[in-house]
Structure formats: structure tokens, C-alpha cells
């Protein structure tokens, strides 16, 4: 049963098209993440689904019900905002029960639901405190609780963690994942942080300029990016790009020729100008690189040790190359090292359309 269906959704602010004919089908219980740089339209899409913005065209269905013209409260959705948007003058309990009281729900029922939400989110001790007396993480949990108590079908998160410090963000990320696991509700989560996207999402929608670049599972997006933009956006440290030419199963660039043996073309193998992308973590060095189809000798320009692993910078075919090595690898500037990669891990994009080949 489809939980949320977005059909031919378009939104225009005057002449500017913010969302361009989007179609998304989110099954029951899925955790979909809308990922993209700021201004790509992800928050706007979320607000459209929530009903806070009137769409210019297209329909929105929740639980197979056409809610395009419904008020947000009539759509069975709960929303958690980046600024938490808690009612500052009310206690935590007040915040949780305000929506229910307004819907004239029985006192006992309200009490039960608030208790359940407080127990799930471990905020029982905070019930009588005012938002001002809570930490960022606690406030976020109360914001989630506000949707929880209303037994909504769909949870909408609008960059909920971006106001928190790194450590708290990691803790809360895990909590949200556990929450999703327990509740099995459909969740739509907007963020610009790819780590959150990769860790939380069942599927990710990479967005740019109001258009969905790719809607797929994290591993699919990571390994087979649909276009150059997605490849460049996902993965940290960033993917290496080489501009060159494909000539029967080889790729020549800046004086180097890489074999393309084993590369799974989507369609028929083609030739012509293209981009080759290879992720730093897919480049092996030293002995492991020996029997790889593509190998080269390079000099290490800079070394960036990061504890768990080390990032080495070199130059290949006139282009700076990022190589990720094991944290303990003994490498220093000036070393000549052997590196190589398996073409099947690489990605090829058409020069002009930047679409995956």
C-alpha cells in the first residue's frame, strides 16, 4: 500500500519554477531522505507534502487519499522543524498535548499517549520543564514527540539536526533510526548532510534545481551514480574525475590509458568524449594494487592523516588524485607508490549529457 504518492508535482513562485514535475512513490514504512545542496527545493517539496505550501500543479496522495487540497492537520502528518518550533510558554507536557486538546480528545487518552511518547523518547523527567530549560537534543526529542502523540501516518523532518553540535547529531541520528525501526512509520527526511542520508535512508532522492537527479538506495547511489552531479555530491572525500576519450574498452586521458575491462556499460558500449570517476577509497596502493587491471606509479604530493584513515594527494594524467589509505599506512610526501583500481568500481559519464554510460 503506497504511503505517500507525489504525482506530476510542480511549484512556481511567479515565473521561477521551484519544483519541476516531480513523481515519487513512497511505500509504507519507508525512510526516504531528500538530499541536496541548499536551494535545491528539498524543503519546499517537504512543505508541499505537509500542505504548508499550495502546489502549482500535480497531486499529493497520503494513504491512497488525495490530500492536495487538505489542510496540514487533515493529512495525518507530523513535522519536526530545524528550529524545533516548540511553544516556548508551555511546558513539555503542554507542547505534547496542545494539538490533542485542540482536537477535543479525552483527557485519559491524551495522558496515555503523552506517557507512551515520553517513554519512547525517554523524556519523562522533562515533562514539567519549559523548552528554554532543555538542551538542543532534548528539544528535538520533544518536537518528535509532538508528532508521535498524534499517531500520524507520515513523519516529516526538515533538517532537524543541523542546529546541534557534531557529537549530539550522531547520538540523535541513531535515535531517529531506532525510532523508525520501532514505529515502522513512513518518514521523509530533508538534509544537506550526506552522512545522515547514507546512514538513515532506505532510499535517497538527490535533488538539484527542483529536479530529482536520482532516487535509489544508498548503495546504488554510492556505487552507480546516475550522473556526474550525483557522483560528485555523494562520497567524502570527493570522487576523482578524469576528462578523456573512450576508445574500444580503454579510456585515454592526459597521456594515460586506463583499461575498461569489466566495466558494466548500461547500454551498448559507446565511444567518444566522457568523464571517468573513481572514488579515492576504490584506489588501492602498494601490494594490493599489483594485479589490478589499471595500475600506475605516482609521486605523493601531500599526506592528510585523519586517524581512522589517511588521505594522500598525488597527480595522475595531469589531474590531482585523491587516494584513501589505511590509517596506519606509512607514506610520506615524495614517495613513489604504485596505485591501481578495478574499472568495474569506476563510473563513466557522457561528456555533454553527464549521464552515466
Amino acid at each position: 500500500m503506497t504511503s505517500v504518492l507525489v504525482k506530476d508535482l510542480t511549484l512556481k513562485f511567479g515565473a521561477l519554477t521551484v519544483l519541476d514535475n516531480l513523481n515519487i512513490d513512497i511505500p509504507e514504512g519507508e525512510f526516504l531522505v531528500l538530499l541536496g545542496a541548499s536551494g535545491c527545493g528539498k524543503s519546499t517539496l517537504l512543505n508541499c507534502i505537509a500542505g504548508l505550501l499550495d502546489v502549482s500543479d500535480g497531486e499529493i496522495h497520503i494513504n491512497d487519499r488525495n490530500v492536495t487540497w487538505e489542510e496540514p492537520s487533515g493529512r495525518g502528518i507530523g513535522m519536526v522543524f530545524q528550529s524545533y518550533a516548540l511553544y516556548p510558554q508551555m511546558t513539555v507536557e503542554g507542547n505534547l498535548s496542545f494539538g490533542l486538546k485542540n482536537a477535543r480528545m479525552g483527557k485519559a487518552e491524551i495522558k496515555k499517549r503523552v506517557a507512551r511518547a515520553a517513554e519512547i523518547l525517554q523524556i519523562e523527567p522533562l515533562l514539567h520543564r519549559k523548552p528554554a530549560a532543555l538542551s538542543g537534543g532534548q528539544r528535538q526529542r520533544v518536537a518528535i514527540g509532538r508528532a508521535l502523540v498524534r499517531d500520524v501516518d507520515v513523519f516529516l523532518f526538515d533538517e532537524p539536526l543541523s542546529n546541534l553540535d557534531a557529537k549530539l547529531r550522531a547520538d540523535l541520528r541513531v535515535e531517529i533510526k531506532r525510532l523508525h525501526h520501532n514505529l515502522k512509520n513512513t518518514m521523509i527526511y530533508v538534509t544537506h548532510d550526506q552522512v545522515e542520508a547514507m546512514t538513515l535512508a532506505d532510499r535517497i532522492a538527490i535533488m538539484k534545481g527542483g529536479i530529482i537527479q536520482q532516487l535509489d538506495t544508498p548503495t546504488e547511489i554510492y556505487n552507480r551514480p546516475r550522473n556526474k552531479y550525483v557522483a560528485g555530491f555523494i562520497g567524502s572525500p570527493e570522487i576523482n574525475f578524469f576528462e578523456g576519450l573512450i576508445e574500444q574498452d580503454a579510456f585515454s586521458t592526459g597521456g594515460e590509458r586506463f583499461s575498461l575491462a569489466g566495466y558494466a556499460f548500461r547500454g551498448a558500449a559507446t565511444a567518444g568524449p566522457a568523464w571517468l570517476g573513481i572514488r579515492p577509497e576504490h584506489i588501492l596502493s602498494g601490494s594490493a594494487a599489483k594485479n589490478l587491471p589499471v595500475t600506475n606509479e605516482v609521486t605523493v604530493d601531500i599526506v592528510e592523516p585523519m586517524g581512522s584513515d589517511t588521505l594522500a594527494w598525488a597527480t595522475l594524467a595531469g589531474v590531482p588524485l585523491r587516494i584513501r589509505m589505511d590509517g596506519q599506512a606509512a607514506v610520506s610526501t615524495g614517495d613513489r607508490i604504485l596505485i591501481g583500481f578495478d574499472p568495474s568500481r569506476a563510473s563513466l559519464f557522457d561528456k555533454t549529457t553527464e549521464e552515466r554510460l
Binding site: 499550495d54 502546489v55 502549482s56 500543479d57 500535480g58 497531486e59 488525495n66 490530500v67 487540497w69
Partner: protein, 296 residues
């Protein structure tokens, strides 16, 4: 069971939905209540007396005459001397300019000193000033009469200028202090490191940055001083009466029948200067007052 129209695209909002009608309705009615007096005054000030007596005051003038304005400006009499409001106007201007300059200069320095150069007791004086802003003027009227008499300023324009400076100081100082405290601290520290002194920082750094708050202060003081009646009546003699006091005299000293058109023209003339400033400064007037008041 496809319903007649499947909801698609933006929710059809009826142009005259009940909420919209109610919203714009109340706004228009209230706007009429607010605009009514100005409209009545303008309309009546352009009518001849006969037309006023028989017609109703809301009807636009049948034959427009500017005679009431001319009379109000140069001929309306209080007792024997009939110079109209012009003398009051120039008196008000003579009172206004020194008062505005003096009160803003002192208040801005106060605010600046309070914001950045706190010295022992400076907060005490500031608190007294703020508490002073709420003390009704009546309590300090007579002592000021004595102070001005000792300074030999009583009854002169400069006496009134001093009174306006004194009574304008609390609110203005508060405004400037709030503004200067919102100036980033680092800017002030950097200037100190560069060796700038109290006045150096004030003139070269603080002043250039504080144009918006100066405009607000000017707007507040100009409307406040121009519209003052209480101090004008007590601290000046008839020859120096500001426009508001003279307006009250003209409208109240009656030669035979009350000339409403001249009186309304005179009232409009008195209100002209603050109105022009208000319409000219528009948004700034609003933003400034809100900033000063809300933050205060």
C-alpha cells in the same frame, strides 16, 4: 468512485472567501475611522462659511476657496494683533532646531558613554533618568521655572529649548544606549587597540555607523517638540508662543461667530510639519520606533 473533480494543483480559493471579506472589511472600516478627521478638516478648510452652515461637513466643497488658509496663516487674530499662525510657525521653528540639535547631541553622547564607557555610578544615573521618564512633568514644572529664572532664561526661547532637552533626554538616551550596545564589541575594542580615545571613537566610528538611530531620534524629537503644548504655554511669553499654543488661542478667541473653515485650516497648518516628516520618513519612522521601543 472517482469524485466529480479530482483535487489537483492549487486549492481553489474563492476570491471573496468569507475570511477575506471579513479581513478587508474590518480594515477598510477602521481605516475610514482613522482617515475621517483628516478628510473632514481638509474638506471644511476649503469651503466658505455659508457652505459649511448649510451643507454637511462630509460633503466635498462645491466651490473651493483658499481664503481660509490665507486667513489662518496671516490674518487670524488673537485679540488685537492679527498675524495669524505665521508668527507661531516661526517661533516653533526657532524652538525646534536648537532643541533637536542639543537634545540629540547630549543624548547620543550619554548613550555612547553608557554603552561603552561604564564608570562607577553611570548605571545609577541612567536608572534615575529612566525612572524620571515616567515621573509626570507636572511634578517638575515649578522647580524648572525657578531654575530657568535663576539662569535668566525664563520666558525666552532658550528656556524652552533647555526644557525640551531635559525632558527628551531619558527616552533618547535609552534609544542610543540600546543602539550602541548592539554595535559589535570587537569594533570598539579594535579602535581602543588602535589608540583612539573617547571622542575619537565617538566621531570616527560610532557616529558614522549610527545614521538610522539618528534619523529615528530626529523624527521622535521633531514630532515631540513641534507638538508640545504644555511647556509652550508655561515657559514662553505670548510673543514667543509655539504654533500649537497659538492655534489653541486662535480657535478659542472668538470674534462673533466661530469660523470653522479658518480654524480647520489653522489646525492643518499646525499638523503639516509633523505629517510631512511622517510621510517622508515612512518606513524608517516605523522601523526606528519599533526598534527603539521593542528593544527598550
Amino acid at each position: 468512485m472517482a469524485d466529480a473533480i479530482t483535487p489537483r494543483g492549487p486549492k481553489p480559493r474563492r476570491r471573496f472567501s468569507r475570511a477575506n471579506v471579513m479581513l478587508y472589511g474590518t480594515l477598510i472600516v477602521i481605516a475610514a475611522y482613522y482617515a475621517l478627521p483628516l478628510y473632514v478638516m481638509i474638506v471644511t478648510s476649503l469651503k466658505g462659511m455659508p457652505e459649511i452652515r448649510i451643507g454637511n461637513i462630509f460633503a466635498p466643497p462645491v466651490e473651493v476657496t483658499y481664503q481660509p488658509w490665507v486667513k489662518a496663516w496671516s490674518e487670524a487674530c488673537t485679540g488685537i494683533n492679527c498675524e495669524g499662525l505665521s508668527r507661531g510657525f516661526w517661533n516653533s521653528v526657532q524652538i525646534l532646531i536648537p532643541s533637536v540639535i542639543l537634545s540629540i547631541a547630549i543624548a547620543s553622547v550619554n548613550g555612547y558613554a553608557l554603552a561603552n564607557w561604564k564608570f562607577k555610578g553611570s548605571e545609577v544615573f541612567f536608572t534615575i533618568l529612566i525612572v524620571g521618564a515616567f515621573i509626570p512633568y507636572q511634578v517638575m514644572l515649578y522647580p524648572l521655572v525657578i531654575i530657568l529664572r535663576e539662569l535668566g532664561l525664563y520666558g525666552s526661547i532658550w528656556g524652552l529649548v533647555l526644557v525640551h532637552t531635559v525632558f527628551g533626554m531619558p527616552i533618547l538616551t535609552l534609544l542610543f544606549r540600546n543602539y550602541f550596545t548592539s554595535v559589535p564589541e570587537e569594533l570598539f575594542k579594535a579602535a581602543r587597540v588602535d589608540g583612539a580615545g573617547f571622542w575619537g571613537i565617538y566621531f570616527r566610528i560610532m557616529l558614522p555607523m549610527s545614521l538610522p538611530i539618528f534619523v529615528v531620534a530626529i523624527i521622535l524629537q521633531v514630532t515631540g517638540i513641534w507638538n508640545d503644548f504644555l511647556f509652550g504655554v508655561i515657559y514662553t511669553k505670548p510673543a514667543d508662543y509655539p504654533m500649537t499654543v497659538q492655534l489653541n488661542n486662535i480657535v478659542n478667541s472668538v470674534q462673533g461667530v466661530k469660523e470653522y473653515n479658518v480654524n480647520m485650516a489653522a489646525t492643518l497648518l499646525t499638523g503639516l510639519v509633523p505629517l510631512i516628516i511622517y510621510f517622508a520618513s515612512g518606513k524608517l519612522f516605523v522601523r526606528g520606533i519599533a526598534a527603539g521601543a521593542v528593544k527598550g
